[in-house]
Amino acid sequence: MKSSLSHWVRAGAVCCLLLGPALSPALAGTVKVGAIFAVTGPASFLGGPEARTAALVVEKINKAGGIGGDTIQLIVKDSAGSTEKAVSFAKQLIEEEKVVAIIGPSTSGESMAVKKVAEDGQTTLISCAAADVIVNPVARYVFKTPQKDSFAAQMIFEEMRRLKIDTVALASGNDGFGKAGKEQLEKLAPAFGITVAASETYDSKATDLSALVAKLKANAAIQAVINWSVVPAQAIIAKNMRQAGWRVPLFQSHGFGNIEYVRAAGAAAEGIVFPCGRLLVVDALPAGHPQKALLGQYKSEYEAAYKEEASAFGGYAYDAMNMVAAAVRQAGNDRAKVRDAVEGLKNFPGVGGMFTFSPEDHNGLTIDSFAMMTVRDGQFVLYQGK
């Protein structure tokens, strides 16, 4: 019995040895790229469009002959928004799958946790999350495609200064994005002469904020509310404010750039002001705008493939995936060279804006990549001021 068992084990081992070399030539022509997105869970708003967009970009590149004949193999891992899962997937992608680079994660909290894994594994990570702290201070292997949250905060405060608003209330989700945004807002407010009269955090799964709104409304000094989150609470706070008969302006972060929230908030979304990339208003851009053609192309391709509106979130993954492809095209299937190639990208046209990376700047965008937008008749339009 014992000998027959060891016989089988030996036979199995021989089979593996024989099959190993037979399999590897088939893999020679592939470039493995890892992706960690929160496809399910509370941040699925981000991860869903991101994973679909990345798949779309890869499919297009492979159809057009791949990169120098090599096809890209995209390995998508669903972190469900969990930091622990994101970290273990990152390790798996780097150590077992030996990917050339990783795009994602979707949320700021996950990105901060994965940052160290990417550094230790010396693998390029292009995060699709917004918080400034991901690339500030700069980590050698970590980049990000969404605009910085400090830019968004500046845009909002500048607009407030124009509107002569000097006392505001902050509301933010208790996730990585909300916390980072809250920090930026509180740090930058004094420079614009703005007083933060109240700062409230809510659970990112909150389903009703009427008590919070009642509390803020009771403070008569508050002239405007800034809400900073990526969760459905963005629509809920708008509804609860208008239901409470509170008419002060509501500003939101770039997390509001998803038409689903506008639909969810319905009439309450009208007049919300927020900074965002230009994808949402591509049709309103002047013909000569450097991003217009690219934005229009991404929007129509995404919408044709998935029968849903393209959002700014998908755009983050679009840029990240295209950057990896551009870097591999330049540097080949080599981790260290790909990192240098990404850092060397100049005037790279993306959905988020024109990226110019440098050793000091791993976001590569300027404040011009944002435009102020508002909601009119259930649609995003460029904000013209009051």
Binding site: F45, N174, Y202, D208, S210, A214, K217, P232, I236, G266
Partner: protein, 296 residues
């Protein structure tokens, strides 16, 4: 605290509270007839909302909701027949594991069918910004719908369990299954019926709250936790107490916002649940004698 603010908190609390109460009633119905806690109750709420939203394309709102309730009831019956009915006197622990499994199954199926985006039914009356004023307090009409739905369900259930033969049979089944069987009651059918009833109530709750809270494939989980807390708080099996406990928890949560950040809301609910389980495990309105007669 000004009087306005007080009433605004109070109404916010009653809104949350009614939602929790409806979920808790669903827990109670299955508990009273079978002695088990159905942890898939939150998923019935989610399914009701989702199905109604999908049907809205083909049917007017009222019919879509009615159809969603019926379909969810059918799903409830199907689940009971597939997973519960053929078990011979299963242990409480086994049933809990089974219902948790069912809840995961339903949630994942919903993710595949409807995707991860949030959806909602339109407001039954007016729109997102319609309010009417009670003094200086602003109330959304949908809140009234939730409270009315909660009250109607309560009244209907109490009549059903007290005055109809089937309701009495279900209660008999809960009190002593063997004795009920000896009296000629088909206990298995009663269990199926209780699943249908609680699925239907969950689905209706899912529809009336959808405009306020939105519906997402995983929105059932957190509701189930709150509903369970409320069911325990009131005393398992007592639906009237569940309503009182639900509104109590809602009001505590709403007023807590004036002292601690809203993010602590769930912590408060869980702290109350733990406290009740330590101090008065049969609920604030439950009696220890009645609790001793149950196996769970």
């Amino acid at each position: 605290m000004s009087l306005d603010l007080f009433f605004q908190y109070l109404f916010a609390g009653i809104t949350y509270g009614s939602i929790y109460a409806i979920v808790a009633i669903g827990f109670n119905i299955i508990y009273t007839t079978t002695g088990i806690i159905n942890f898939a109750q939150g998923e019935f709420v989610m399914l009701g909302g989702m199905i109604a939203i999908s049907l809205l394309e083909y049917l007017p709102l009222g019919y879509a909701i009615a159809a969603a309730v019926l379909i969810t009831m059918a799903i409830g019956a199907l689940i009971e027949m597939l997973f519960i009915r053929w078990l011979e006197s299963p242990s409480v622990l086994r049933m809990i594991i089974i219902t948790i499994g069912i809840s995961i199954l339903l949630r994942e199926s919903a993710l595949h069918i409807w995707g991860e985006s949030i959806r909602s039914l339109p407001y039954f009356y007016g729109n997102e910004i319609t309010t009417f004023n009670l003094g200086s307090v602003h109330i959304s009409p949908q809140v009234v719908w939730v409270i009315v739905a909660c009250a109607v369900m309560m009244a209907g259930l109490s009549v059903f369990f007290r005055s109809t033969p089937i309701g009495r049979e279900m209660r008999a089944c809960a009190a002593n299954r063997t004795a009920a069987l000896l009296c000629g009651i088909n206990t298995r059918n009663m269990v199926t019926l209780s699943f249908m009833l609680s699925a239907g109530i969950g689905a209706l709750a899912g529809c009336v709250m959808s405009p306020i809270t939105y519906t997402q494939y995983d929105s059932g989980t957190s509701l189930a936790i709150k509903g369970f807390t409320v069911a325990i708080l009131g005393g398992l099996g007592n639906s009237l107490a569940a309503v009182a406990a639900g509104i109590l928890l809602g009001i505590i949560e709403a007023f807590s916002v004036s002292v601690v950040p809203l993010a602590f809301q769930d912590a408060i609910a869980i702290a109350i649940l733990l406290l009740i389980l330590f101090v008065k495990p049969h609920g604030i309105f439950g009696s220890s004698e009645a609790a001793r007669l149950k196996d769970f």
